[in-house]
Symmetry: C2
Subunit: 577 residues, 2 copies
């Protein structure tokens, strides 16, 4: 399960020799899935045969014997599922924990964009993810973050231009340039994004897109510049237009965004060849209780999708898009990434094989060795806070500031004019973002309505996309204490009241990921959420996720950044007039 492209000649030659001998029935296979009904992505139907595996590769389809044989009667064998676009960090756990969670759901490959950790640690973050995903029972392919910082307004931990990420293109698991969020820059032919697109083109690598609502000439320009996919379509018309213009459409169904219902009709023979499934973000609760790509397949079929088209989008088409030539199909020469499901309706996963090795059965991942990460990188990942101790005075304001209106179930906000002070009884709270990467002392402060907190403060070092510390509170002292506690934890989520930390989710890896198990993190998170709600957070608002988006200065109307309140609609910071 290592880095395949560097296998030396002699080794690959010997491997081919054995593959041929087994395929030609000259010696037994390592594994044979007997009597398998399997999905043939080339003929678009279910076939029945034995599937023989040797050297991690499917070598024969027909009638085979093996050292190990598994009768697959009653099961359907599918190619391993592929998530075409995900930010691993959103699961709040290590990539190994993420793998342990998704492998039992049939996922054998994900295409990850380490955008979050890169915003904290720069190239070290990319390297960290590459090391933390090496040798997992899940193949993790990486797209290089294209927008660090996410916007010129962000004070992130690093700035990555095209030259900074250049060396990573040589890595065998790097597939290209991740979602080019700066579509405005591309369409304006701005230098920085164009340099990145040019470098990717010269490396003959894919560039994924992110351009919600882009259309007409601007869309053509964005695509002609080299952006070959989109995962931001929210309606069929938008998706069809992008598909017609040559983009692969990633149908996204994750924790934060839900586009499956709107786009499920694309999973038909006319269009499925240009569709891929992805989640973008999966949070712990969702991972534990819904599943992963299997969940999307189940939903898609329930919504009327052709099951074969849906599975192809979840495997073959994703592999084709990313140039993973030996993945996504069940045929000689393909990696033995195989998922045994009970049917094509519930997609209940019984067993999962990755490169011919059983990695999960009955909903549980088999134990696997953890990747070894360089000590330097581990140290570096635990040392990403450069911020001094704050006091209540740090958050005191002498003048009014804008009041950001949170809307239930939305991440957009509204502009509610100015507020003059905290009034918890009227749901007017103070919100602040504390720059934490470079000890600049920058603290942007404003007011927030709609969050509902009645006592204490909530702080988190997950705040998109720069992952500074965002804090909301009913008083300045609790705000300062909450931020200081996040800093002391070297990252995390803190719910605090009256100087006492009531619930914590430590996220000591880059301030955005935990070192505990997914179950532990989820338990902590649920406990913290319950406490936040007990302190008054409005039902229907996610106390941490919604908060984390308040710092993202690309979504209207108002956002809070390290420099103060930003008016996204007017594209300017609030200033006293």
């Amino acid at each position: 399960m290592g880095e395949i492209r560097k296998e030396p000649f002699a080794h690959l030659l010997r491997k081919k020799e054995r593959i041929i001998r087994v395929a030609a029935q000259g010696e037994p296979a390592d594994l044979v899935l007997k009597n398998a009904d399997y999905l043939n992505v080339f003929t678009n139907r279910l076939c029945h045969a034995d599937i023989a595996v040797a050297e991690g590769v499917i070598v024969g389809i027909g009638c085979y014997t093996g050292r190990q044989e598994l009768d697959c009667t009653g099961l359907t064998v599918l190619p391993g599922f592929i998530d075409g676009h995900i930010h691993l960090e959103s699961a709040l756990v290590s990539p190994a924990e993420f793998a342990r969670a998704v492998v039992p759901h049939g996922t054998t490959t994900i295409v990850a964009d380490p955008h979050e950790i890169a915003n904290v640690m720069g190239c070290d973050g990319i390297q960290y993810i590459l090391e933390a995903t090496k040798g997992l029972p899940l193949s993790v392919r990486v797209m290089l973050p294209s927008c660090v910082p996410a916007t010129p307004l962000d004070e992130s931990g690093a700035e990555l231009d095209y030259a900074a990420i250049e060396p990573f293109y040589a890595h065998p698991r790097v597939q290209g340039l991740a979602e080019m969020m700066d579509f405005v820059g591309v369409v304006q032919a701005a230098h920085a994004p164009l340099e990145k697109l040019t470098a990717a083109a010269l490396h003959q690598k894919r560039v994924d897109g992110h351009a919600p609502g882009l259309s007409d000439g601007a869309l053509c320009a964005y695509i002609a510049a080299g952006v070959s996919s989109d995962h931001e379509c929210t309606n069929r018309e938008e998706a069809l237009r992008k598909l017609e213009l040559g983009q692969c459409i990633m149908i996204r169904e994750g924790t934060a965004a839900h586009n499956l219902e709107a786009l499920v009709s694309l999973l038909s023979p006319q269009y499925d060849g240009r569709c891929i499934l992805c989640t973008d973000d999966k949070h712990p609760n969702d991972l534990l209780h819904k599943g992963h790509i299997d969940y999307i397949l189940r939903q898609a079929v329930a919504l009327g999708a052709d099951p074969i088209c849906a599975v192809k989008a979840a495997s073959f088409h994703a592999a084709q898009h990313f140039g993973l030539e030996d993945e996504g199909a069940i045929a000689p020469g393909y990696r033995a990434n195989l998922v045994l499901v009970e049917d094509l309706k519930e997609f209940a996963v019984q067993k999962v094989y990755r490169d011919g090795v059983l990695t999960a059965e009955n909903g549980k991942a088999l134990p696997f060795p953890l990747p070894e990460i360089s000590p330097t990188l581990i140290r570096r990942s635990h040392d990403t806070f450069r911020v001094g101790a704050l006091t209540a005075e740090s958050f005191v304001l002498t003048e009014p500031r804008p009041l950001i209106g949170m809307l239930k179930g939305e991440i957009i906000t509204e502009d509610l004019g100015l507020a003059h002070g905290i009034e918890p009884q009227s749901d007017i709270l103070k919100i602040a973002v504390v720059e934490r990467h470079h000890n600049t002392g920058h603290i942007g402060i404003g007011y927030l309505k709609g969050y509902g907190l009645k006592a204490g403060a909530v702080a988190t070092s997950i705040s998109h996309d720069s992952h500074n510390i965002i804090v909301v509170g009913t008083n300045e002292q609790d705000m300062a204490d909450a931020v200081n506690r996040v800093t002391a934890l070297r990252g995390g989520i803190v719910v605090l009241s009256g100087g006492k930390s009531l619930a914590e989710v430590p996220l000591a890896v880059a301030g955005i990921m935990s070192e505990e198990t997914l179950e532990q993190v989820n338990d902590r998170l649920e406990a913290a959420k319950a406490l936040a709600f007990r302190l008054g957070v409005t039902p229907g608002v996610d106390p941490f996720m919604t908060l984390s988006f308040m710092a993202l200065p690309v979504i209207p109307a108002l956002r809070i950044t390290t420099q103060g309140v930003f008016d996204v609609t007017k594209q300017q910071y609030w200033k006293k007039t």
Copy 2:
């Protein structure tokens, strides 16, 4: 139209800038095909829009203005046609002449296997084709010959192992390893073919296949070894089995082989995604009078194929198979390789654009500069004969030899026992192959029935696959004179009687290609054929093509090689018992 992958960063950046400006309607396009009905290979239907081109690339689909505008009302715009597998040399003319012939038929890309010239000149032959195809109005992609010599029995001009062809993988127009004809060797895990497959895999390049009739475990072994296509299917069942096992099926319809009728039903939505069109061989007469890929499309639709599926096989799917990411579709970012046809029935080609430049209209290619070939290579290509002058005695036999029975309309032969001498009245002729690459003095001699010659001799330096000189005659003196004349011409076809050369087709480039125009070569060839028939050649036998196959020691039953008569069925040379 150059070598795109080496464009330096700054140049590509500037190109992207302009592409974006034009796409975003900020400045006029270089060319706009106005009101175009065009095939959208992503949505599988005809769309209507303007197609804007800048910098050789399609930049926008929508409503555009350009410095040059062409009203396409009444025409259908298709992606440029791609021939997935061809031996250029079979056209008997230079690649430039070949381009002049096929470009007006809508072909914008061919994938060539320079197997013939490599059998004469080795790596110099591959290099010759790369140089002779540079900058043509036709994009010539090259697959590296995998079987030189074609069999261990062949005395060819060169032997190419994996190391010999290794340097060519770095060439930007080399797409992989050409048809692996040694399927027996692959299935037996023989070292030499496996080394070649291993090298191709390490370079992440395609390997095309050639395995007529292979099935079951042997077929799985061949595919698992890395062979990803086949162009030798002669019936639907064979094609479907190979397709089901993951191979792309190249539906071949050329001069020598005609598989379209048997396979046309694959050009349907269920299977077309795995189909490609190819010709394998196109001879001058065929090129002049039938066309190229447009001819296959016309025939396919007449035979009931879905026109959209057929065109996709002729463009998008071929591009995808060979990793030509920016070819085969009409969408932003794709090369402006465009064919304007009158309809999807006759496929009458009106205009052809390659990288946005008009290359042909009304059936005629526009003039283009000829590629510059290194003087050394030109000299080398004109100096491939190493054979001394022969005399009648060279062909005298003192003992009986096998009589090879030619079958009308077939290239297989039958074993007719022994003959004791030439008897033209009974159609028993003498046939010989004269080794001509290394001056070994090897001359293999036997007898031939079915050819029909009543006087003189016919000799040609096209003899598969080693291109030694094959000669058939009614007397030894004319045989010697004909061979000597071929040698004097440094290659060609000679029809001679009574010591007088009656008709000649000089083929001075490697002994297999002419330096004249396609029309001139065709005229000479037709004249020579007429003469051969006048000398008695059996009607229905192609006097030169059928003869050239008599030396190919892989087709049953008997063949003539430089070492004598070979029994393909028994896999042994004939020896006096």
